[in-house]
């Protein structure tokens, strides 16, 4: 069995080549998926329910094995490794926190994976404290995870994955059940990870969460990739958006109304400064 090594350098950290996947009951979930991901890249996978987004990312840490085609992670065929081994470098934060929390305390919950991956005791303590502090969970350290609120559970799930410091982080519907403040925190976490040269994949319906981050966008529909490109071009293309059954971000709609051309503002702050510039020009 091959183990994943990141000491080598790769142009493509993840590579899908003509990947098809069928569920055991015969339903085709992915058709002819091909794309490559560079180290340190931010990718958002968008699409309607049942488009195949979650199925696609589950191939990256080996939870699912392609029926046809090849998935390479860190240059090695994902089929040749187990999910437990690949997960050391590919962390997935699952949509439903209740599907993974089982320990008697928040602290032990964070330590569970670190022990599975064979971390030294001193490092386990250090990483646990870092996760508790970074995600404002220190006050709940000795409480059972089941007693936390929905938002806190979600935060814990992100914390427990980041505790083992994976090279690739996949966030599956990270904004579900999160209020606006927590969403903003998530944006900051994603930015922090990118500054550390981590590769981040967002699987989401929440286009307003994605737009300020301006990631590369893959739009999926019926198990196929219908668009793969820059955020500005993809999310402002009406025909592509309708193919992927996704509504454009409010700032794109607003920019169109204002008659602006690409690149559209990524935040309300940028939009405000554009309006101020235009107003100043009109006055002059």
């Amino acid at each position: 069995m091959e183990t994943v090594s990141i000491e080598e350098s790769y142009d493509q950290i993840v590579s899908f080549e003509n990947v098809d996947y069928s569920h055991p009951n015969g339903t085709i979930a992915l058709r002819n998926i091909s794309f490559q991901l560079k180290p340190g890249e931010l990718l958002a996978i968008l699409g309607s329910n049942g488009a195949g987004k979650t199925t696609l990312v589950r191939h990256i840490n080996g939870l699912l094995k392609a029926t046809h085609g090849t998935v390479k992670v860190f240059g090695k065929d994902a089929k040749l490794s187990t999910a437990a081994k690949l997960s050391r470098k590919v962390g997935i934060v699952f949509q439903n926190p209740n599907n993974q929390l089982f320990e008697q305390s928040v602290k032990k919950e964070i330590q569970f994976a670190l022990r599975n991956f064979g971390f030294m005791e001193a490092l386990i303590e250090e990483r646990t404290n870092w996760a508790l502090k970074t995600f404002s969970l220190a006050e709940y350290a000795d409480r059972p995870p089941m007693e936390l609120s929905g938002g806190e559970k979600k935060r814990l799930c992100v914390a427990l994955v980041l505790a083992w410091d994976p090279e690739i982080l996949i966030l599956d519907e990270p904004t579900v059940g999160q209020d606006s403040e927590q969403k903003e925190n998530l944006v900051q976490i994603v930015k922090l990870l990118l500054s550390q040269k981590k590769t981040v994949i967002l699987v989401t319906h929440d286009i307003e969460f994605v737009w300020p981050l301006q990631p590369r966008v893959i739009l999926m529909s019926n198990g196929e990739i219908v668009a793969d490109g820059e955020c500005q071009e993809t999310l402002s293309n009406e025909s592509l958006m309708s193919k992927g059954s996704v509504l454009p971000p409010q700032l794109v709609e607003f920019s169109r109304l204002m008659g602006w051309s690409l690149p559209f503002p990524a935040s309300t702050f940028e939009a405000k400064s554009l309006i101020e510039k235009a107003t100043t020009r009109t006055r002059m």
Binding site: P24, R58, T82, A83, I92, F94, N96, F112
Partner: protein, 252 residues
Amino acid sequence: MSLDRKMQWIAQGFLFVRGHTVVHRLDPRVRLITSLSLFSVALLSHSVEELSIIIAIVLTIAGIAKIIKRFAKSMLFTAVIALIAFALNLFFYPTSPHQAVVFGVRLFAVISSTSLFFLTSTPDELEHVMKWMRLPADFVMVFVIAVRFVPVLLLDALQIMDAQRSRGLEFDKGNIFQRMKNVIPVMVPLIAVALNRSLDLAEAMDSRAYGAAKKPTSLYHLALRRSDYAMLGIVLLGVVIGVYVSLYLILF
């Protein structure tokens, strides 16, 4: 094969798949009577030949219902149980090898004939049959919900296993005690999710006035058709022959 693949493979043998064959179109009460008749004749039977005929009839009906693959999966475990029963009878009970074989084959015939009904009936049909049997409404509801939630719980279990494997847990590693310990990270969230779901369901049922009427009306009513009467006739004839043969073999 990994543990979750094994679970999926096994579960497919027990889950209902809506079919459109002659067998599925029969009234569920007729299917129940057919299964019970085969069950009863198998219990009475004392010859391997007669039991083999019963198993052949069960297999033929499963074939007509196009459920032979799923049926074979569920019967795999029945075969193991039958083998154990045969071995126990042979080695720990003062009986002849022939009687031990009869016991094992009879057990297989009894379980397979019962499975036939469950593999060809929807939870809705189960509900209708249980109501027709005048079982208490609450009991029927609890039973039907339990049956209906089996695939949902299975899906939950697979998702939880995926989540824990993504945290470095290897289910197939270690000795028997380690493997038993590995099940805890699956069982705890599964029970928690199931309890939460049951509470949500209870609230949803309360808010839709479950229990408000002492005798709730039913939208669907079971009615026998010609094909059902024909099948009942065949079953009755089969039972008479089966009982006659069984008694003849016992008495003479």
